[in-house]
């Protein structure tokens, strides 16, 4: 390859798109490093505090797409207080000052402001794609800037963000001449929507493929929208509360029949039970179905819909479907790859909507299944062993038994053997979440067998530090480890400090680590940011002299970084 001119090598590199592969080729030699960095189009930064915008721009001067992630994963479950960090503003400002021709920005769990969105919209002439997932801090005014100024916008994809809805006219800020919309997802907006502006926008967007509406879009508007966008591939239904057989309902049914390209269905945020039947004509083409917000729809209606969905690859559903419903899924959806079953009863009221039987049925019926997230009230080792035998191809296996410390409900044993069978059979397992009654033994199995594991979530599990040590010593590819309410302490934390350089981050909350232990870790590993999130007024902790033995009151979050301590931490975050 040394005899080829740089342009040829660069052309070859164009075919290498995965981040991991590009990182590898940049390590081959100085020449490849240089060619690679000038030609890298997509940059992925898994932790926005691991590097600074300036260093990013020094290494990659020519990228077009940036993905940034901010808060740790447990922030999704209210474990990270407001104001912790993850601000995108410095990034947008640095990029705006540079000469990068940014076309795409994808943010996850970050704090975004209207000012930032305004700056973004004015700074990059060719900006095409904005994807915000689980972000917060901005309002519809920021969306108005994007709509007004981004002439070449293709995607505006807002997934599960906290957006201050000023019920304004952001949709009418798209110019009349603007016709290049491909993706529009505003399902997470809570306020009123300008239906006229929305209909006009959709009518002048021939390339529109993905449209996800919020709950303020009623049935008759949906019918009109679908009538002028029959090319739609991905639809998120907003509100669906009309009476059966109303005129709007009939119009909608007619419009749906024309949507022969429809492959993905979601939404039903406010849905009357009968509404699903309108979609039966297109079910045979559906590959993705997300009914996880349709809490009012009874299992029987869900089952009737799914019976038509023979090509389904992805299904997100509530446990109201029941074990019987999962058996229907198992016998109908032979192409199923990903299943998520969410709980409807958060308080363990004894309603056993789905049990281990549903999980076993799915594992037996769906040979292509590789990702599962399953909330349930009870589980058995026998069931997990059967699942492992049926499905050795799991890449992601997340089981959440709602009641912590709950044992095998038949034998009263811990679930160590069941999870052990999973990790032993599934040689490609990259992500695992464990729950139920678990001893150190399960972690011995994980350390021994889960060689490809990159992310592990632990809650209310284990007995001693040995558990955590098995994992840290065994899982060579571990990147993200998150632990809550488990008896792991300083000995496990400090045993192998260098391990954390091979990982993106570690989270430990309500465990047995002490402030003294965390400080020792911070001293030993200056390449780590060791943060304590302290929500209670415990500034007096050190003064009392209990420091060394004081349990870390709340949360430990540590991560590797090349830019040292961050400067934007709020007062309740101690960086050691």
């Amino acid at each position: 390859m040394n005899y080829f001119p740089d342009e040829v090598i660069e052309h070859v590199f164009d075919f290498v798109t995965s981040h991991k592969d590009r990182n590898s080729i940049s390590l081959v030699c100085k020449s490849w490093f240089k060619i690679e960095r000038y030609s890298r189009q997509n940059v992925f930064i898994g932790n926005c505090y691991s590097i600074s915008p300036e260093r990013l721009l020094r290494r990659f001067p020519c990228f077009k797409s940036l993905t940034l992630k901010g808060k740790p994963h447990f922030a999704d479950f209210n474990l990270v207080p407001h104001g912790w960090g993850g601000f995108v503003q410095p990034w947008i400002e640095a990029l705006a000052r540079s000469r990068v021709g940014l076309e795409e920005l994808r943010l996850k769990r970050m704090v975004v402001t209207d000012e930032g969105l305004e700056l973004l919209s004015r700074s990059f002439v060719n900006f095409k794609s904005l994807v915000l997932v689980s972000c917060e801090g901005f309002s519809t005014d920021g969306l108005a800037s994007i709509a007004s100024n981004c002439r070449h916008l293709r995607d505006l994809d807002l997934q599960e963000n906290e957006i201050d809805d000023h019920r304004g006219q952001w949709l009418s800020c798209f110019p009349e001449t603007y016709t290049s919309l491909v993706t529009l997802n505003f399902a997470c907006l809570e306020g009123e929507t300008n239906l006229v502006a929305l209909e006009r926008l959709v009518a002048r967007s021939p390339n529109l493929r993905s449209l996800k509406l919020n709950r303020a879009v009623p049935l008759d508007a949906l019918a009109r929208l679908m009538a002028c966008a029959p090319q739609i591939v991905d639809l998120g239904v907003g509100s669906y509360e009309d009476e059966q057989d109303s005129e709007s309902c009939l119009k909608l049914q007619a419009a749906i029949r024309k949507c022969t390209s429809l492959r993905s269905l979601s939404g039903f945020l406010e849905a009357a039970p009968h509404c699903l039947s309108a979609f039966h004509p297109v079910c045979h083409n559906l590959t993705s179905l997300n009914l996880s917000y349709a809490a009012e729809i009874h299992g029987s209606h869900l089952i009737k819909l799914i019976e038509h969905c023979k090509k389904l690859q992805r299904l997100w559903i509530l446990d109201s479907i029941g074990d019987k419903g999962l058996e229907v899924v198992a016998s109908t959806c032979k192409e199923l790859q990903e299943l998520r079953v969410f709980p409807t009863d958060l308080h363990g009221g004894g309603n056993t909507a789905v049990t281990e039987d549903g999980l076993v049925a799915i594992s037996a019926g769906c040979p292509k299944l590789h990702s599962i997230l399953y909330f349930c009230q009870q589980m058995t080792n026998a069931a997990l062993i059967t699942v492992a035998r049926n499905c050795p191809n799991f890449i992601r296996f997340r089981l959440c038994i709602l009641e912590p410390h709950k044992p095998d409900h038949v034998t009263s044993q811990p679930l160590d053997e069941g999870f052990g069978a999973i990790v032993q059979a599934c040689k490609n397992l990259k992500r695992l979440s464990v729950s139920g009654l678990l001893t150190d033994q399960v972690f011995l199995y994980i350390g021994m067998f889960a060689t490809q594991l990159e992310m592990l979530s632990i809650a209310f599990a284990g007995d001693t530090d040995k558990g955590m040590l098995y994992v840290l010593n065994g899982c060579k590819k571990m990147r993200k480890l998150e632990i809550r309410d488990s008896p792991f302490g300083d000995a496990a934390l400090l045993a192998d400090v260098n391990k954390y350089e091979t990982m993106r981050s570690l989270w430990m909350s309500s465990c047995e680590v002490t402030l003294g232990g965390c400080k020792r870790l911070a001293r030993k590993a200056p390449w780590l940011n060791v943060e304590i999130i302290n929500e209670n007024d415990n500034n007096r902790m050190e003064e009392n002299g209990y420091e060394g033995r004081q349990k870390v009151d709340n949360k430990l979050y540590l991560y590797r970084t090349v830019v040292g301590t961050r400067v934007d931490a709020p007062p309740f975050v101690w960086i050691l």
């Binding site: 447990f74 999704d76 479950f77 209210n78 474990l79 689980s134 599960e160 906290e162 997470c188 009476e243 996880s292 917000y293 809490a295 009012e296 969410f342 709980p343 409807t344 009863d345 958060l346 308080h347 363990g348 909330f375 959440c400 709602l402 912590p404 410390h405 044992p407 009263s412 044993q413 811990p414 160590d416 053997e417 052990g420 009654l437 001893t439 150190d440 033994q441 199995y445 979530s457 809650a459 209310f460 007995d463 001693t464 309410d485 488990s486 008896p487 909350s509 309500s510 047995e512 209670n536 209990y546 004081q550 349990k551 870390v552 009151d553 709340n554 949360k555």
Partner: protein, 158 residues
């Protein structure tokens, strides 16, 4: 795969003291959120089970609606011109349609929402501010929160 630890934290005779049980949270210096053991405390846990806020809110409001079925919401109903009123439990109705059907049956006349009509009686309500309003403009759930009493008016009054 022999399991060497044979105990059950659920039996009173052998309690593993290293396991953080909910009752230890008061002894611990740690003030963190350990999983509460009583059902009333469970109601307020915001971080377990691990579901996203949007789903949590959806399920909460669903549960409130379902629970609302058990708490009665009796309001007085008067027909204009009739001095003696009736009492009606609004929580038994799923929406405006079933309310109107029931009122029409109860008062043996056609009762409707909204549009002025020379033939039909129109339903109005007094909200928590004391104002008299037309029934049917706001979502049913919101209506249940604000309604204080009902009046079936003669058409020309509106």
């Amino acid at each position: 795969m022999e399991n060497s630890n044979s105990y059950s934290p659920y039996s009173s005779s052998s309690v593993d003291s290293t396991k953080p049980s909910p009752s230890e949270s008061s002894v611990n210096l740690s003030l963190s959120l350990t999983f509460p053991s009583t059902s009333s405390q469970r109601e307020t846990s915001q971080d377990w089970p691990p579901i996203k806020p949007r789903l949590r809110d959806t399920l909460k409001s669903l549960r409130l609606r379902q629970r609302g079925y058990n708490t009665a919401l009796f309001v007085k109903v008067y027909m204009e011109g009739v001095p003696i009123g009736r009492k009606l439990d609004l929580s038994t109705f799923s929406g405006y349609k079933s309310l109107l059907e029931n009122l029409s049956h109860m008062f043996d006349t056609s009762v409707i929402c909204g549009t002025r009509d020379s033939k039909n009686h129109v339903l109005t309500y007094q909200d928590k501010d004391g104002d008299w309003m037309m029934v049917g403009d706001i979502p049913w759930d919101m209506f249940l929160e604000t309604v204080r009493r009902l009046k079936i008016t003669r058409p020309e009054r509106c």
